[in-house]
């Protein structure tokens, strides 16, 4: 077997392990446990081989994998660290910096650097929670750019805007806001989503009504008496005078 063939086989073996593991990073000891006898023998490893031996065995394959030391372990990452961190943050919506750092296998300083880089690049946004913690969530860069421009053209109608902007992206933004605000609840307050997104009133109302008509969301009446006047105002009223207070997500984008 020549080197190229060997590289290819190791790559496919690593891919398989990541597939089984379901995460983009894996401790080398755990990595070993996913290998069957044949694969172990191919890599000239034993079930109890030390981490250095595993690293050496798979090292012929360079890109796109990388191995980093974390505490007493060595961790294999399935790609560039920034990309993996971004995907990891996206998957774990609306978690605090501390919670995210706890389960991501790089030292704190390195994780801070990673997050700062992603923030600088506009891939991440941060908010301070009421308990004064930093909450991170990912941002679709293109959509953000579009939204900033949209805010300037408050009076433009949605039909015209939809030509310029990708409605699907806006819906996707709405969906992110829905999950961020609702934290998994099935009924999320419209006024909270509205405030979270900070779009123009017209744009928000028209998009929401379109989404209701197309079945992306179901909007529900509620009890305005339990809300403050401003919150009622920031809910949604259709042309028949029906007031909607909460929405539930129904259809995937």
């Amino acid at each position: 077997m020549n080197t190229a063939e060997k590289d290819l086989k190791i790559t496919s073996l690593i891919e398989n392990v990541f597939k089984k593991h379901g995460k983009d990073f894996i401790n080398l000891k755990t990595f070993l446990s996913y290998l069957d006898k044949k694969e172990l023998s191919f890599l000239q490893l034993k079930p109890n081989s030390i981490q250095d031996a595993v690293e050496k065995a798979i090292s012929p394959v360079k890109s796109p994998y990388q191995i980093k030391k974390f505490k007493q372990s060595k961790v294999l990452f399935n790609g560039p660290l920034a990309e993996i961190a971004l995907a990891y943050i996206e998957k774990r919506k609306a978690k605090t910096f501390g919670q995210l750092n706890k389960d991501f296998p790089v030292i704190k300083g390195e994780f801070i650097d990673l997050v700062n880089t992603l923030l600088d690049q506009g891939c991440l946004r941060a908010r301070i929670s009421t308990s004064e913690k930093i909450i991170l969530y990912t941002v679709d860069k293109k959509a953000t750019q579009l939204l900033t421009e949209t805010a300037k053209t408050e009076d433009a109608d949605l039909f015209a805007m939809s030509k310029a902007f990708d409605t699907r992206t806006l819906i996707s933004q709405f969906k992110d806001a829905y999950y961020n605000v609702g934290k998994g609840a099935n009924y999320v307050f419209i006024h909270q989503i509205r405030n979270f997104l900070g779009w123009s009133r017209k744009q928000f109302d028209e998009l929401l009504y379109q989404m209701m008509k197309q079945g992306y969301v179901a909007a529900h009446p509620g009890n305005p008496g339990a809300l403050m006047a401003q919150e009622v105002r920031d809910s949604f009223q259709d042309e028949y005078g029906d007031l909607y207070i909460t929405v539930s997500w129904r259809k995937s984008v």
Partner: protein
Amino acid sequence: MTHEQGISDILRQNNPFSSNAAGDPREERYPDVPGLGDKVFHGIQALIRFKKNQPTMQCAGAVLGEAGYGKTHLIGRLIDSRNKNVVPYNFAYIYPFIDSHQGFRYLLREIVVNLTTMYKGYTFSQLDALSAITGCRVIQQMEKEAGTEILSVRDCPFEKNPIRILTTRIVPKTILPKIINHGIRFLSHQNPAFTPEFLKVILRYCFFPETRPAAIQWLMGRTIASDQVRLLGVSDRSSKPAESLEEDAQEIILSFDLLFYFHGRPMIVMFDQLENLTDIKQIKTFQKMIFCLGDKSKAMLPIAFFRAQEWTMNFSKQLDDFCSGRFKANMFDLKGCNRKQAYELIRSRLGHALSGIKLPNDLFPFYPDHQDELSQLLNLPEMSPRQVINRANRLLQKILYGKPLEKRCPNLILRKAYKTRYEEILANHEQYPPDKSRLILAMSLYLSNRPANLSCNIAAVNIQPKGDKYVDFTAQVTSKKGKAVPMIIMIDIESHHKSVLASLKRGIIQLKKTPEAKIIYIRDSRCPFHGPKRWKENQQAKTEFERRGGIFILSPIEEISYLYALALLKFDVQAGDITSDTGRALSPDQLGRFIQSEISENPDGIFAKLEQCFLTLKTPDTSFNKNTSFQPIPESGVEDEKITGLATEFLDQSPTKMMKADLLVKKISQKTYIGTDTNHVVSLLGKNRKKFNIFRAKDGILISLKVHQ
């Protein structure tokens, strides 16, 4: 008159879309719409089967749905299907409780009310069935142990129809005590957690018809009279403290649970209108109930019905992790109608009103002439059933009368709902047993909303003052002459002579101390006040009480039901179940105004009697100013037009088309210098529902301009 005109006439008289609240789920309801709510319905039935198969598994369920999504309809459907499920089940529908200190007694009472009610289509109650089956099982066991037949099998029709044991006297009376003793031993052996007194009462209920009324009262956890105690052979509860009575109630609930388990027929306990639990103490008590039913039981399954917003804002935060975790594990979302179901809903309502009449099509009169309009109104892929009904109603009114729907004022809607509740209580008063907490709730609503310009003014109302368990209200009554006297109202539903005597004595002591005081003792006549032969001391106390000027009211069901109806109306309003013609839930403020202008101005039943009692304070020379606090809104056409025009202008300029009433009034006043007040403007614009919407928020009233008028 053409056939079509005839149909329109019927619809004018019997509009199937004018009612959009489901009412009491135990009564008749509109037909089900295929597919609507099926997922939740089948989910709960599966949960019942699960509880039957895994009795030790601790579980509870919750159904989320906004007002108008069909929660009450679903409850009705679950009740109707109790004998059709793979696992038949018992049910209890629980109205919200008020007094957090009596939670378990209330829960037990409501369970027993459900168990003892004879529902339509049945000749026996759930308790009849339960006690009859228990009696038969005990006899069978005795026969098995003795090796002989107590009842000849050929003569015993109970194998197939155990209920007949309640009406057929084929068990020799002489051996009944033996059967009861054997039954207690046998069932206690089956499960030592059974309380012997409970078993005794259940078996007595089965074999001794004369004990049934007393047995029901005892099973409800009430302190029964001494002669009833002797009849049932149970211990007297009269000297027990409240905490101990609560423990007893919990024990009886768990004994019922064992009985359900023994018969292999679980019970679902459905908690509705939970929006009425507004106090943290009530929520803690509710939590204890769920723990008792969900975790300590083997055959009881609590299902709570929440409005989604209420769950998100309050219950999910106030319930402890344990309790909310139980609900979250089996949480069902009620979804709205899809387009097909929306049409089916309209079709079925029309079919219900026009049953037996030949129609040009099943959506007539919407089809064919108003097909597009209907389709435009049903423009969303998911709408709440109530929204569909309201929109259909709007269009139907236009078709029938050629003009848009004329909305009824909230008072009219509330009057209708109040009357319905009153009639419901009168017709099924066994479902609404004497309930002190509901009487207190209704009385406090009445006193706090009663206008001051009636016969006299009632102020400084204090509800259930601390440290005085017999007094329910203290207040100051001021006659038109300006003379103020203290007033005490005592509400009593106790059956035990000692407790009744103590209440009367409390009144006498007060009258001795302050002879000018007005002391009113009110008693639901279903809790009898016995004659001198049986209650000699109590009769003497009553005479003494009245001699000193106390007012003793033994209120018959026709009178006191007005109070119960008002309490239930409060539950309905709080739960968002009473809606305006536009589908918006009426608010507690609107209920307050209804009490102020309708119940107080034209009092009926107990309210009329109370007003008479207050009137006795009136002195002949009155110089009372009728307009001291309740002023009717002045009618001034020209100014009103101006106000409406300006309101339209200001609201239209606002990006949200919505504004706080105070701000709007300020703007109008600045522009016109018309001295007007917020109430007047809200009332004026509220009349023009075609153009304006009024929303009552927590911190004020909002007025919005309708875009699509």
